[in-house]
Symmetry: D2
Subunit: 436 residues, 4 copies
């Protein structure tokens, strides 16, 4: 079946920078060594199940455009298998090392929680079988706690404790499935953990509920021996008016308060970052500065639109700055670059799915190479070191280490008249332009 969905049967291959084939890589050469690692091991690309295989092309003002064979009705588990065939065929064609999924992307919801869990188990069996002969591995799994109407007012933060309990049942099953498939991380996106209006919301209570929910998840992870981190994915709004996991800083505040540091890290996304008023690079920096970096959703938003467009990342310059930060910290450990990206609803040809991934994988590869060269040349790190070098003196180190107090420094300041130095922003922007 799947061979009939995509016309091509050979995996997309590296063809060099001059290629004009939209189904060939110009920069992504998986075995090429960059900064001591194979490109594939740096980039750790993952294809997501939901946008690529589950979303029918609808938007708030229009219906299905994609007409995928597995969306045409029939026995739900048979359709799930048909979808899985195409998905694994695409993983093979793109030659990606990872994929990701929500429980409901892969398995139909049943008439009861138990039935849904059974469906998920059946699909997990299928995946296990497929993965035995495929290169692709599971980057992370997650539970969809936001689409069904029972979650309309939140899952962990629902005013109804039975919904909280139901979410516990669902998330346990999803983590079990992830663990069984050797997933390297487990992700929580709290799309309904927020509010539509404060008029009907007890924010403090809901945060306490969320804190407890995550604590139990961490306990369970340890109990079953799941070694990967729990990743929270910040997003400021949409679908709700306001989500508690607004941005990296809001999550950091939350994790400290509820004593969840260490076991929980961040899965960051460019589109969510800009909806919160931050650049992608900012969120990555903030995560590293506070030991929260986990994984990345690699997509892009539209700077002129106020909702999550989840477009394929196409800016090598933006990715270069992200990799520049990551390479200084050793790159990914358990994380990867997950394509939480969807082709536009007008991109209805099957090969649009492949073309989009190829173009964006190439963009990332180009950014990686640029970042590596910038670091090798100390193009940005050199000037940075110089800018702050005053803090390396013994007296100034003593300030930061807590050996000085306000009065003594204030007294010393009476003799100072510090003169500003140029921040050199345009020069640095010009330097970056040399590399991308």
């Amino acid at each position: 079946m799947s061979s009939r969905f995509f016309e091509r049967s050979d995996p997309v291959a590296f063809a060099g920078e001059d290629s004009r084939d939209p189904l060939a890589f110009r920069f992504y050469d998986k075995d090429k060594m960059v900064a001591g690692r194979r490109m594939e091991d740096h980039l750790r690309f993952a294809v997501c199940y939901w946008h690529s295989f589950t979303w029918p092309g609808s938007d708030p003002f229009g219906g299905e455009t994609f007409d995928r064979p597995w969306m045409q009705g029939g026995d739900p588990l048979a359709l799930a298998r048909q979808k899985a065939d195409v998905a694994f065929e695409m993983f093979r064609l793109l030659d990606v090392p990872f994929f990701t999924f929500h429980d409901v992307d892969v398995a139909p919801e049943g008439a009861s929680l138990q039935a849904s869990i059974d469906n998920l188990k059946a699909v997990t069996d299928l995946f296990e079988e497929k993965m035995a002969t495929a290169r692709v591995r599971l980057l992370w799994g997650t539970a969809n706690l936001f689409s069904h109407k029972r979650y309309m007012a939140g899952a962990a933060t629902n005013p109804d404790p039975d919904v909280f309990a139901y979410a516990c049942g669902q998330v346990k099953a999803a983590l079990d499935a992830t663990h069984r498939l050797n997933g390297e991380n487990y992700v929580c996106w709290g799309g309904r953990e927020g509010y539509e209006t404060l008029l009907n919301t007890d924010m403090k209570r809901e945060l306490d509920q969320l804190g407890r929910f995550l604590a139990m998840l961490v306990e369970y992870k340890h109990k079953i021996g799941f070694g990967g981190p729990i990743l929270i994915e910040p997003k400021p709004k949409e679908p709700t008016k306001h989500q508690y996991d607004f941005d990296a800083a809001a999550v950091f505040a939350f994790l400290q308060k509820y004593d969840l540091l260490g076991d929980v890290k961040l899965n960051l996304e460019q589109n969510h970052a800009i909806l919160a008023g931050h650049s992608f690079e900012h969120e990555v920096r903030y995560a590293y500065a506070n030991d929260l970096f986990g994984s990345l959703d690699v997509n892009r938003g539209d700077d002129l639109l106020g909702w999550d467009t989840d477009q394929f990342a196409m800016s090598a310059g933006e990715m270069a700055l992200v990799f520049h930060e990551m390479l200084q910290h050793g790159g990914f450990t358990t994380g990867g670059l997950n394509f939480d990206a969807k082709i536009r609803r007008q991109s209805i040809a099957p090969d649009d799915l492949l073309i989009a991934h190829v173009a964006s994988m190439d963009t990332c590869a180009r950014g990686l190479v640029a970042a590596d060269r910038m670091l090798a040349d100390e193009a940005l790190t050199g000037p940075l070191r110089t800018r702050y070098e005053g803090w390396e003196s013994a007296e100034n180190r003593a300030i930061l280490s807590g050996e000085r107090d306000l009065e003594s420094i204030a007294r010393r300041a009476l003799d100072l008249d510090p003169q500003p130095r140029s921040g050199r922003q345009e020069m640095l922007e010009g330097i970056v332009n040399r590399y991308v």
Copy 2:
């Protein structure tokens, strides 16, 4: 002199709801009891020095419009005294209990740090003398660590440790002055504590600098016996591209990391909230939920503009929701409603200063009364209690208190099929409209 600046000499008085005099209060009746306190003691209004007496009406595309007598040049200290005369006359005419200032609003910067400190001391003497015979008290003082070019790349977060030291000198003097004038709080707004570009910024190092700076300030506060809290004022951006004190959550994350909880609270502003993507009410709720509430800057932004317009608050409905939250927590302790608000640059008549404050004070009073009535009627709190009442059962309390684990709850969930209940948003919005 001051009698010639404002035409009227009698303080603005309460004249009842039907008054059409823009220089009379229609709702603010300072001695009227609301929720067990005098209105004045609830609202604790403060007039700020900078917008009202120091800003000349300029904007990025145009110069001075106000032509205040004390802005026309001459001996700096004489002008400072002339300005103080008008300021204290305005405090008297508005009959406000508080005022607020930055060091450089009230005293000219001198040729050296010592000279600036001396100027501030001279003005502090003058204020002490004036306050001895006036009703007005000091809500809070602060140091301007953002206007002078030495601070262009930050004060506490500057790459140059000499600038950090200079800021220590300035902030110590400002806290000393605040303490001497019996200020009830001390405020830190980090307008330059952020970055213009990440290309030249070491975020982690700068956050460490900021943490140390505040820790020393707290230590010093205790040493001199200053009893009020240090208040951080979050703002996401402007003047810089990105400020570290982005919003209440970012500050909470920071305070936890640098162990500053307890001594440091928040001074929240509506305009800063909306620039960060939050409602004012959200920030207030978040502050209370995390024991961070301190004080409020009462102004408003323009929802369609992307910068800090600092307009006078004129929405009783918005203020009612803020007071609704505050009254449930007992209202202000050391904090107050500071008019960090500026008349439009076209409002060049001297009495525009009075009219704007009067109209906004009335707006706040009206909001306070509405909030009190909503609480008395349990108009919002009643439905809220009902909505979450499921959590009051023993079994569900046990979840939150940590006596249950994921597996046991998941097992119990197999028998559940929770049905959603209406969130009643429109009904609640209609209810609020009954009160304002």
Copy 3:
């Protein structure tokens, strides 16, 4: 059936300002005279079919929440009749004078254009029958040229001329139905008339297509004797990245270029206005200034969200400013206040539909009364007249009438030194607060 959907059977009635019944009007008293007209004749409320009866409560991250009986599957025309029963029951309960619909809201799409037209005719028969015994009339009809996948790249602006032709077929049928039901206007919302990316878009050609499409629609309207205006509804974006009918000004530019003034007016919406960066009042003013005012969609957006939330209007102050403008121009002619508003997806109780409309109708009535009182007192119009009175001199009138040239005015200006006068913004804001 419908009597079982809503519990109540008596129409909502006026009960006075002190009522606490969410299903009673506190301000809307339909026969009360305001500015020489009955309130009902001023406000001309319309209930829309799509949000109230067709939308299932889904959003981009979640499915159906409403579970309406007519959405549960079955014979499409039978379901359409069931839906119509509930709709007309709601029109009766709310006692609104008007309703509005898209073709596909009321009649199922068939397997061919002809079949769809036949379905629409069948429902038009049904409506005609129901309207014979009901008070409700048709404010406007419209064709949905944006939901079906054939329109994913536009209707009139589609790159495929066959889609353009299909849209002609659909819009002709919708106008025929509107005409037959004595609709007072016909509306065009160009939700897909724009682009997702300029990379694949020929903007000039598409604008020419759109101009021709509308010209033919105007010709046809005259031919069949449809007396109402064609109304264009501006919206800047969503669902597409950029719509050609961005705002009132973009439509005015377009109408002038394609010679469509006179026959085509505007249907303005608050939520679309703010997405375009304008206040609702701005768009209304602009429409009147250029003789384009037609009708209003009365809802509100969320100032902190970047998409169309279509919430029920609940701000009497905002509506007061809109009515203040409208009353100066005589109020509506063919237009009305259409509730293009949807209850939140958590408002799942049937009576939420009624409560939301009642609360918003009351908000509008309250705004109308406030506007009337402001005008009677010349509260805003008086100061406005004074502000511009200099232009009433003979010399200055001559400038505007074209009797002076740049040189003569420039020469006269050599003797001038004009002094600014206060714009009095805060005083005017305080005045408005007296009325709302």
Copy 4:
């Protein structure tokens, strides 16, 4: 003097792509032929006077940072000459063909209109003399009708007709100076032609005033034989809440209504475009589609900030799309690329001025080359032609030429069932990435 301001004395030269010198061009090779023209003749770079030589580095929260010698006080005309020496030295060092200025950038305002005009004449004499021996020419001049307090409520749209008259005097003098210096265009930016609040604004009257003002300017231009166009520069907001020249569409509507087409074109700016919710490319396309294209301000805004940052353009990809459009229409006629861009206020070194221009000129040159290659390969234009080719049939041409009516097309549509085709957005994005 000027030789002492900049350290270097040799003009910046082309050094090839591998150069690492921030004061060498890597792409801009002025005599290199691209699409049949010298690069210099395509790009027509202009340096602006205001940001580079008049702005002191202040922002709304901070004062001067640049400390330029000519800003330190003294005889105004002597300082103006000193500034002009540095400016012309910079034009020479950057080897740009053009510059631009406002009247008040170059000449101090005097105590009366006549005195200001006299100052402008004196500086015009000086410029004439300097231009006699320099390569640099005047791209355009303009009058600053927004900074002085007399214009706080508008110039042409002021409620006070004496201000209108004063503006006539100033704009006549500025056009006279532009004409004398052989300026190729004359620009109007209506920074105060809008409103702060609709409460005190008569929008219709103000638009009529603005229409008359521009009509007189056009009449005068013809009278004195000034051959270039009048260029209006759209901007949606800032400094005011709302400007009448919101975007290209608003200006097009206005020009049509006031019969100003032909003589008036657009000067478009990226930063203004994005503040209005449009991409730069959109505004350029819209201008060409409606025969309004004039000239460009080449800078960039920050997508995450809500004000005019006027940063130097550094994205070759963005510029490539603009040039791609322009080259299809033959490129500039009288217009050019004006650097309405300012170095960041922390970029205080004199050579930051040069470095920023060089980096941005190179960005533009790189974009130009990419656009030329895309056109040569028909990389975008080929797929575009194919996408719309259905409209080339005789029947479909007849629709657009007005030979068909709604009924006949609707009848024909009964036999149609148009099938959607992929929009290929990701493929096209990937193609663009090949070129930049």
